[in-house]
Amino acid sequence: MKATAIMVMTGIALVACAGAALAHHSFAAQYDATKHVELKGVVTKIEWTNPHARFYVDEKNDKGEVTAWNFEMASPNVLLRNGWKRTSLEIGEQVTVTGYLARTGPPAGPKMAIAESLTASDGRKMFASSATDLSPR
């Protein structure tokens, strides 16, 4: 059951993400804490990879125009230890994502951002990022 796999509160990810050093690179060097994003869309691709897992979302506006997003998450080791399975998120799922935009956009392709919270259409809240996540809380 996917629902049983995900249990970490969004708030923890939010606090950890905003302050924090990611394991692989610093948050501030890549993302802009003043550019918060929130959107709904459909998952188009999932990369269960290092140094970060990623999911890609197509966001459709009222006119039917599509914006593609590339969201960074923590690495698979951290996701696994926070309740994820590789199959916890599926292509085609409707999700609500919050996060922060990268300081520099890619020359082409999806907009890059880091996910701070990820909520599936059935309300499941999934741990998304931060790598201060192995420390005792």
């Binding site: 890549q30 290092n50 080791n77 201060t132």
Partner: protein, 248 residues
């Protein structure tokens, strides 16, 4: 059986036994549990058994916070200037390059001590070998600068002491970017003070970049029933081109 063959046999048994012992434990099921307490486990020869998966060691962000109270990093001015010029994109970590001690990561590591070698297996994302057979460091032209240096180990009572020279100058001490030269001499001291705690003490002597030797101290905690997870850093590293600005 030679001592080397015995070492390999020991490793094989340890590796084979791990999944049998912990087959029912979900990965990471206990990562936030308090470390277990109890006496230091010992091997038949009386030495502390260091075996296990450990989390922590020294601060990931800034090792100067692990100096004795009141001390500051005795860095030479020209090296501080060099450090202040580092950009986020200069961090070896951003390019998936090695992170040898005194640098630690937020992820676990395993130590395996055998009669001939000690191995450190770091989840993020490398290994180290330490020669325990009494050999000396190579000297002169035989000592090539390398990312992880040349490490020899010995026991000092219950403390595992590792002496390393032969580093290149490309690695950092932490996320903050404290630098070093290729003349660094590192002495690591690992002491399992109880079942769940490993004291970590490192003395850094780099007369080129620092005015005197200094010692940083921390601790790691045992993660019982934990296994290392594969971390192939370079398989999808999209970040480096986006990293901007000075180090935090």
């Amino acid at each position: 059986m030679t001592s080397r063959a015995a070492a390999f046999a020991l490793i094989a048994v340890l590796v084979a036994a791990a999944p049998l012992l912990h087959a029912q434990t979900r990965l990471g099921g206990n990562i936030r549990a308090n470390p277990p307490s109890g006496p230091v486990p010992r091997l038949p020869d009386g030495k502390p058994d260091m075996t296990g998966v450990w989390l922590g060691g020294l601060p990931v962000g800034d090792i100067s916070t692990a100096l004795p109270k009141g001390e500051t990093m005795p860095i030479r001015p020209e090296w501080k200037k060099k450090m202040d010029g580092f950009q986020a994109n200069d961090d070896p970590q951003a390019h998936c390059l090695p992170l040898p001690p005194p640098r630690f990561t937020p992820y676990p590591w395993r130590i395996v001590v055998t009669p001939t070698h000690t191995f450190f297996l770091y989840e993020m994302y490398d290994y180290r070998q330490v020669f325990m057979d009494g050999r000396k460091h190579p000297t002169g032209d035989d000592l090539d600068p390398t990312w992880k240096g040349h490490s020899i180990g010995r026991w000092d009572g219950d403390t595992l002491v590792i002496d390393t020279v032969g580093y290149n100058d490309k690695t950092w001490f932490d996320n903050k970017g404290w630098p070093h030269s290729d003349k660094i001499h590192l002495i690591e001291r690992y002491t399992r003070t109880d079942l769940g705690t490993m004291k970590v003490e490192m003395t850094i002597d780099d007369p080129v970049a620092y005015t005197r030797p200094f010692t940083v101290t921390g601790a790691a905690r045992l993660m019982p029933n934990e296994e290392l997870v594969e971390y192939i850093c370079n398989e999808n590293n999209q970040d480096a081109p986006y990293l901007q600005g000075a180090k935090p």
